[in-house]
Symmetry: C2
Subunit: 138 residues, 2 copies
């Protein structure tokens, strides 16, 4: 299996409501989106929002609870962590952890989207974030 | 918040065991990896394997159950779905759903990694998979 991820799908209670949250962050849904699923191109891969019941039917897994997978977005400045958390909370997210300086030198904070999926906003002291937004480890 | 994902972190019971599973698939861990966390460069972003207790402490979320987020890897041929599922099961994954032709024209199947995180192996009839493995929607 190639070392990559093509698509990350988030189970959501209501596709339209979930899509609206990400659109409030400035994300633009792809033309393939429809009432059953929303697609967002995110660099080399794609994020999808898909009904929880439909996803459970596809995987055969019952009653997941969020938190076993976190998504992170890295920002280019330390101050960007707190600013990003403020922005997402204003758009309807729940703050899980404010911007915190970590022992390894970075700064991170966490929020949950309206379906409870945890996201981290992270700043790394190493210059790992490329101009196009890719995170490339040195 | 920019429209991208920098890092996907999977909560695992045992970082060494989880890392060994992905290494059996041919993935190569980055030099930043250590006994507490393993990093894999995946195109424009990074996959991390991190202890479930440590991740719960970071997010403040308790007792997640897998299934609320699925990861997908797209393959360039329809036959690649069944072949990929066979490969991951041989490496210790659990088959959730065999390769299935879908009403929308593609073929997909699902497996769970040893920590229960669901992955989809997917083939799309549209030529969305770039030569470098990126999934770029047309």
């Amino acid at each position: 299996m190639d070392q990559r991820v093509s698509l990350v799908t988030l189970a959501v209670a209501d596709v339209a409501a979930a899509r609206a949250f990400y659109e409030r962050l400035g994300w633009v849904a792809h033309a393939w989106s429809n009432p059953q699923i929303a697609f967002f191109q995110t660099g080399c891969m794609v994020v999808a929002l898909y009904g929880a019941a439909a996803l459970a039917a596809d995987t055969g897994m019952e009653a997941p609870r969020p938190g076993g997978i976190t998504l992170a977005i890295n920002v280019p400045t330390r101050d960007g962590v707190a600013a990003g958390l403020e922005e997402v909370v204003a758009a309807g997210a729940t703050l899980l952890k404010p911007a915190t300086d970590m022992p390894w030198g970075g700064t991170t904070g966490y929020f949950a989207d309206p379906d409870g999926h945890p996201w981290e906003i992270s700043w790394l002291p190493e210059p790992a974030l490329a101009v196009d937004g890719s995170l490339i480890l040195p």
